[in-house]
Symmetry: C2
């Protein structure tokens, strides 16, 4: 194989969700395309990398130069609710479902011995200031329902617990919509029983 | 979502084997990476698009400026065998298995009423010249075992059938290695019976 093409395939294969076979197909499609798709993609990527930065307030990626992101600038979002998530893709998921209308705060990771993520790696330095400045009265943890997620949630709560008049909440655990008991794991079933609601 | 990021995700989602979810993860990984991976990928892509061209002889993509590809320049490949394939990924597959040591010829597609591929879209103009100039004595069709593949094969044969002293062959059809009869389709079984070998 031509070494230049081989290098390009290797670079694509290192992207998440791609293996060498998918990367080959992508590179082949890009190199054989005659509509300028490859140049457009490369230039859009260079432009994005040069201009997209995390919002200094919440961590959401934005291209507003040195300023706050769309969420932090939107006064209609200042409803006193702050949703703490792991990363930007969680924000996108929540926005698509349109269940939350407050502000976000991206941790940028979860505490994990395996991945070596330490408390200092979490984006929580300005969290107490945000609670004061933005009149936050409820903090909603929307972290993964895993050991790392819960550990991180407890740690973040311990850091900001001194803040008065703030309610903490987390997403409910239980049987998913359309979920068949047959296919549920024991952990979810146990959480669903513990959290059963009176009728 | 930030419009610049959204546009970039849409561009990635249009690549083969990628959907919008995988594209989101890829864009997020690239934008959050701090090792310059996104710039390197974009620049490698721009460089490849600017320098990679199909070999004028066989159609294999190469970055040798205006010249022949690695296969056509390699004298050890001039063994009189020419393997006709649909596209470059088939060349890569055959090269990985190391079963063929001759030269290739890429058609660039298969005749197809559905896809609208006409005889004039096939890269066969110089095929007769190649047979003469490169002393080809065997042409091996390694096209997909489908209606389109077989139709294309018959068409290409009719075009070059006037060439004397050239044997034509195609890949064998039958039960794949490790294949269980239980899981074989009727078409393959029928081909395997028709092509049964005496012992």
């Amino acid at each position: 194989m031509n070494p230049k093409i081989e290098r390009l395939i290797k670079q694509f294969a290192r992207l998440p969700r791609l293996g060498s076979r998918a990367a080959s197909r992508i590179v082949l499609a890009l190199l054989q395309d005659k509509t300028g798709r490859a140049e457009n993609l490369a230039n859009a990527l260079l432009d994005a990398v040069a201009t997209i930065r995390p919002c200094p307030n919440c961590g959401v990626l934005t291209d507003v130069d040195g300023g706050l992101c769309e969420f932090c600038r939107d006064p209609s979002r200042a409803n006193g609710q702050l949703c703490i998530v792991r990363d930007l893709s969680d924000v996108w998921t929540l926005e698509k479902s349109a269940v939350f209308h407050g502000r976000y705060h991206i941790l940028g990771g979860l505490l994990s011995g395996v991945a070596g993520t330490m408390p200092t790696d979490l984006n929580i330095e300005n969290l107490s200031d945000r609670i004061k400045n933005e009149n936050i009265h409820e903090i909603i943890f929307a972290l993964p329902n895993t050991v790392e997620g819960k550990t991180t949630q407890h740690y973040v709560m311990s850091v900001i617990s001194a803040t008065p008049d703030v309610r903490f909440s987390e997403l409910a655990s239980g049987v998913p919509l359309g979920g068949d008991l047959d296919y549920l794991d024991d952990g979810t079933l146990s959480l669903a029983f513990d959290g059963r609601r009176g009728l």
